[in-house]
Subunit: 295 residues, 2 copies
């Protein structure tokens, strides 16, 4: 077995993502010698202790991170600033601070100002998840075959970046590195805007269901059904994602709206060629995804 | 075995839907004594003859419908007016004319003015399909467990409606009846608007992919991937659906846009409660669908 990457690793927030990291670290043994976790809720702490997926379950976040050479924030991104205010002064020199949040510009905004000298910040985003949440929802293979994107700042210690990359490699993930602004645009279009659209169209349909005596829900065909699948997601997590990737999300909503209205206008004026061209483009993107084995 | 519903049934357009009807009629034997089909393209006619799913393959649409007591239009809805101009004078008295198109107001608009006295028009919409098309794509079980919506006009012969309903029941479908305006609104929100959105977001993402050096396609996460699945659809069929359900589709696009921009505005101004409320609503609709076994 390879040497563990960390002597003492702290997972802040043992929910779907956090408890999955704990599980795989317990199973493999080459992630950390000692696994510490902190949850705000006593119910979650009790449950994590019962599950036996951490060596130490700590109620106080500052005690949880003390003496750790690795800390991973796995709470909703809206909670980062509050958590950082509590832990920043207790982070050990040389510690690697990373996270699993879906927005990355907000991480720099919320963590960097309080970052002690000698602590390495390596923002990360494992692109994996399910529609379930909480410590019981996690599983050790959650990250296998999925991408994890790292967005280190210029000048960050390359050894710290490599340690975080190796953690995700051992979790079975494929690693990509990019700047946080590009990350936030990419996830805005591939994930955040589709969720905004899915939440919205469910509401639009629900309003219409009252007018059509529920016929809408009865006949939810394949198109609509696929949209509702991604609408069944965690409320706090998605609220925080929307609020913390505001600029990129609003930019993508604006681009999408322009394009949707251009297609709507073609429908209004019967411009068959324009419509065919858009449909062809959708099929092309679908084909590209299939060729990349992402579909 | 029950008595066949028709003596001589003609399927105009043996594509995915039409060839599925032919296959199940051949298999069951209680749909029609003689199965006739007409396809415009010689390639399709040759292929249907090879497949052996029809008793008569006819190049001339007027000869195809002559002497039939049942005719089902299974061509894209944009082709109805042209087909009707060719067949109307050749429809036998007492014949039932039905269809499998996804828009129903357009059927009344295109078929009713040319309908001979004594011919019964019963518009129908089997809510089933795949992303494939053509005579090889059909299969006898395509309609099993799916809804078929009938939109008979007021004053239509109840016996003719019952015959069409029984055809779809024998195909394994569940039957619902409603007026064509309600049908067109319902399918606009559950199917046509989701397809318009899916085609659009694929294009929006493709534009962004050029800016982000293809990162968008690489990281197509679950949200976006679900959208592209329904973007892989037949071009002529969807062009015709958009153009022939214009009013309902533009109304639903307008309703959706209002709702999407209301959510976008809440993101801009950090209105957490509004955002949570919309996410909750999406989850509620999803739960409703699961309870109805439509998810």
């Amino acid at each position: 077995m390879a040497e563990p990457l960390f002597q003492r690793l702290c997972i802040i927030g043992p929910g779907l993502i956090g408890s999955s990291i704990l599980r795989l670290a317990k199973e493999r043994g080459d992630i950390a010698r000692v696994l510490v976790t902190h949850a705000q809720s006593e119910t979650t702490r009790t449950r994590v202790a019962e599950l036996g997926i951490a060596d130490v379950v700590e109620a106080d976040p500052s005690r949880a991170v003390a003496g750790c050479d690795g800390v991973i924030l796995c709470v909703p991104v809206g909670a980062y600033a509050g958590v950082m205010a509590k832990i920043a002064q207790h982070l050990a020199p040389g510690c690697i601070l990373t996270d699993a949040g879906s927005t990355k510009g907000s991480v720099v905004r919320d963590l960097l100002p309080l970052l002690p000298a000698g602590v390495h910040l390596v923002p990360g985003h494992p692109m994996a998840g399910t529609e379930f949440s909480g410590p019981d929802a996690g599983f050790a293979t959650l990250f296998e075959g999925r991408y994890t994107i790292l967005t280190p700042l210029p000048g960050c210690d390359p050894a710290a970046v490599e340690t975080v990359a190796e953690l995700w490699r051992r979790a079975g993930a494929m690693i990509e590195t990019m700047d946080h602004a590009t990350h936030d645009k990419v996830v805005a279009i591939v994930s955040h805007l589709p969720h905004l659209i899915a939440f919205t169209i469910c509401g639009t349909a629900d309003d219409l269901a009252e007018e059509t005596k529920e016929a809408v829900l009865k006949f939810a065909a394949s198109g609509f059904r696929d949209f509702t699948r991604i609408a069944a997601s965690d409320i706090a997590m998605w609220r925080d994602i929307f609020l913390n990737n505001r600029e990129a999300l609003l930019e993508m909503l604006a681009r999408f709206s322009e394009d949707a209205h251009a297609l709507g206008r073609a429908v209004r004026y019967g411009q068959a060629e324009f419509i065919e061209d858009r449909i062809k483009r959708g099929r092309k993107v679908r084909r590209d995804l299939i060729e990349r084995k992402q579909a």
